[in-house]
Amino acid sequence: MSAILELQNVSRAFGGIKAVNDVSFKLQEGEIVALIGPNGAGKTTLVNAITGVHTPTAGKVLFEGQDVTRQKPFQAARRGLARTFQIVQPFPRMTVLENVAASALFGGHPESVAEAHEHAARELDFVGLGHVAHSPASALTLPNRKRLELAKSLAMSPKVLLLDEVNAGLNATEIDGALDLIRRIAARGVSILIIEHLMKVVLSLSSRVLVLHHGELIAEGPPAEMVHDRKVIEAYLGPKFAERFQKEMAGA
Amino acid sequence: MGFAQILANGMVLGTLYACIAIGFSLVWGVLNVINMLHGSFIVLGGYLTYFAWAYTGISPVLILPFVAALLFGLGYGLQYLFINKVVSAPVLTTLTLTFGLDMILYNLMTVFFTATPRRVSMEFGRLEFWGVAMPVDRLIGMGLALLLTALLFVVLKTSRIGRAIVAVRMDREAAALMGIKVNHIYAITFGIAALMAGAAGSVFAMVFPVTTNLSGVFLGKAFVICVIGGLGGVSGALVGGLALGIIESFAGVLIGPQNAITVGFVLMLVLLIVRPQGLVGVKGYE
């Protein structure tokens, strides 16, 4: 199985601060990888660097083997390299359906406006927003906005999906629903890089966890190991939660 | 001709320009409103000063504070009654609103003042030093302009109002949660802007003839200055004003008055592109 997305020594600095520093990893086709790390570690910046929002100051981004380091966001989207926003960004005064149709039309493969709407409708049903298809995006509740974000990125029929804290602000039960959705997305053969502070998500979804700290990868491995990793506990989990999660893993 | 003389001309003109632009910059920066009324405020200040002087004979320097106070009231009122209602609307809406208000004010002024040029004619003569000739009235104007600017600077930097203004600019709702009366602060800000415009008008009337037709010109200058200097209230306007004054002064001599103004505009456009925050403006005001 081959790497669909590969980062080679990617760095991104803002003036003084190196938000991302010499990060390298491979995302294999069809796998779900989690990216965790303290606030300000550089996770969002990394996503921005991959999708061309902020071009890396050093290093290479390879998508399906080809160099896309200097691409523009819209190009990334068209290639099938979709992402969601940590701060959800819908088109507020369009209906939910139009929002998704936009992605289908421009990010997906060129189709007519009409087709785009049909495609959008399908994706909405898939994420379970069919019932609110015609209400303005601004009227959605937070979890539904997150689902909308997912639908939008799915409508671009992506190969890789970068999820930046799509579950933040959901409570444990709501998360269960979200997990199921993400699994179904993965089942469609989409490779996923998921950023999350909710360990429940990380632990139950990912086959592999990357830990970012001060812009650098400090650890990498299966979830079960990570919750015991001293560095990770020190930098990220903290003793109390580490204990809680270790229990959960043991329980599961 | 003397380099010093050109520079001097430019600097004097520049300070007056700064005085013209400050209020505009403040409203733009804080309320995020492009105030099309600004030019007319200045003209109004000029006319009021002229008539007060013409009928009472009191020195315009003494009249200035009253004119300023009057315009503060006007500005506060307009903001509180009209602009506040749409202050968070997109630029097109607010700009159009202030334009409509300006049409009214302008019409009132043409009816009551006519377009006849008015000038407070007090001959102060001039000073000469190192071959540089400086009209005294301009020096006075410059002095007043600087004084006002400094005053405003201190107020904004040190006073609670100053801090409140900054907070409101950044995030209305969060500011409200700090116990700041947002609408009041907006109105105050607009009032201060009008006040500065009125004062600028007074100063202007001591040096130049004012006519209603100038309001458009003043507005244009304010645009240019704000963009060149940047929206940071006082410092931006000061730098922008001086820059423009000096540039126009040199351009006028080197490539002829014909193109002097064009140079200013072109510079502005260039800055808009390469440095939207202006020469000294703080990033994030955009």
């Binding site: 088109f91 | 097109l92 159009t96 409509g100 049409m103 240019v224 808009l272």
Partner: protein
């Protein structure tokens, strides 16, 4: 996406036909009013593409219009037949707007507004400083159109109407094509638009150019009609602000909004100017103010589509529907 009703088309067709008939039905003065209605309708429709659909508060209309005036005038003085001169003007302005657009469209919000206003002033200053070619402050005499007054006005009116129709079609196609869809996305959230794969730069420039060529043509036609143009009248800041106001008055971002807006505005202006000499400017101002407060979405606000498309004011969620 709103459903495509045929009504805008029908209404528009009837309206244009009505205007086209004024020369046979009414006197020259009314025809002249019809002409200025047509002129401003064309301008407002053009503005609608950049200002309405794309949500970029452009005040560059007068720049395009003015450049159009001069290109048309100069071409005609150089012996180019009127019709060709008009097309040339449109084409030239299109090119200019492409260049200018790729510069000023990097700006957003207030900065774009200022930038676009600056375009008007700069073009005016350039035209007046460039006396050798443009006659500077002296202005330019343009060869008068041949024919008796009624014929000339009728001709001008019909040409203006052709431009109106063209501009309207441009709006229609934009509205119903992926271009329009993309522009509306940009209007609502440019970053997100970028994210869903819209080449925002290209789309914005396209919109800017579309909103420029028709004013260019209008200017050229106007020039050969009045027979004399000068910088101050051609690059008039009042024109540049009036046009967006008209579009908003009718309903920016809608198809018929600019049309309705232009008509009502011009007629109102006629009315007040005829009856309140001294105060007409103040009255227009009052109307503008009232418009902002009482018709924020424009006259066509009641059109339910406008509810989804109009510029955001106050809490968006207060307009929850569905």
């Amino acid at each position: 996406m709103a459903k495509k009703s045929p009504w805008p088309l029908i209404v528009m067709a009837l309206w244009v036909a009505a205007l086209a008939l004024t020369p046979v039905a009414l006197g020259n003065y009314e025809v002249r009013i019809a002409i200025s209605i047509a002129m401003f309708t064309a301008l407002a429709l053009s503005w609608n593409i950049i200002g309405g659909f794309t949500g970029y508060p452009s005040f560059a209309t007068a720049a395009f219009y003015g450049i159009g005036c001069y290109v048309g005038a100069l071409a005609q003085r150089a012996g180019v037949p009127a019709a060709l001169a008009w097309l040339a003007a449109a084409a030239f302005v299109g090119g200019v707007s492409f260049l200018l657009g790729s510069i000023v469209l990097r700006l957003k919000g207030h900065y774009f507004a200022i930038g676009s206003i600056a375009l008007v002033d700069i073009s005016r200053l350039v035209v007046s400083s460039w006396g050798g070619v443009t006659g500077g402050g002296n202005g330019l005499n343009v060869p008068l159109l041949e024919g008796r007054p009624p014929e000339v006005s009728a001709l001008v009116l019909h040409v203006m109407l052709v431009i109106v129709v063209a501009a309207f079609l441009a709006n229609l196609l934009t509205d119903r094509s992926r271009l329009g869809f993309g522009l509306r996305c940009i209007e609502q959230n440019e970053d997100a638009a970028d994210m869903v794969g819209i080449d925002t730069t290209r789309y914005k420039i396209a919109a800017f150019v579309l909103s420029a060529i028709f004013p260019g043509a209008v200017g050229a036609v106007y020039a050969s009609w009045v027979g004399y143009i000068d910088p101050t009248d051609s690059f008039d800041i009042l024109t540049t602000v009036k046009v967006p106001v008209m579009a908003m008055l009718g309903g920016a971002g809608t198809l018929l909004g600019p049309v309705v807006g232009a008509v009502s505005f011009v007629l109102l202006e006629e009315l007040f100017w005829a009856n309140f000499l001294e105060w007409n400017r103040a009255i227009m101002g009052a109307i503008v103010v009232a418009l902002i407060f009482f018709l924020p979405g424009g006259i066509l606000k009641l059109d339910w589509r406008a509810i989804l498309r109009r510029a955001p004011r106050g809490k968006p969620a207060e307009r929850k529907t569905g």
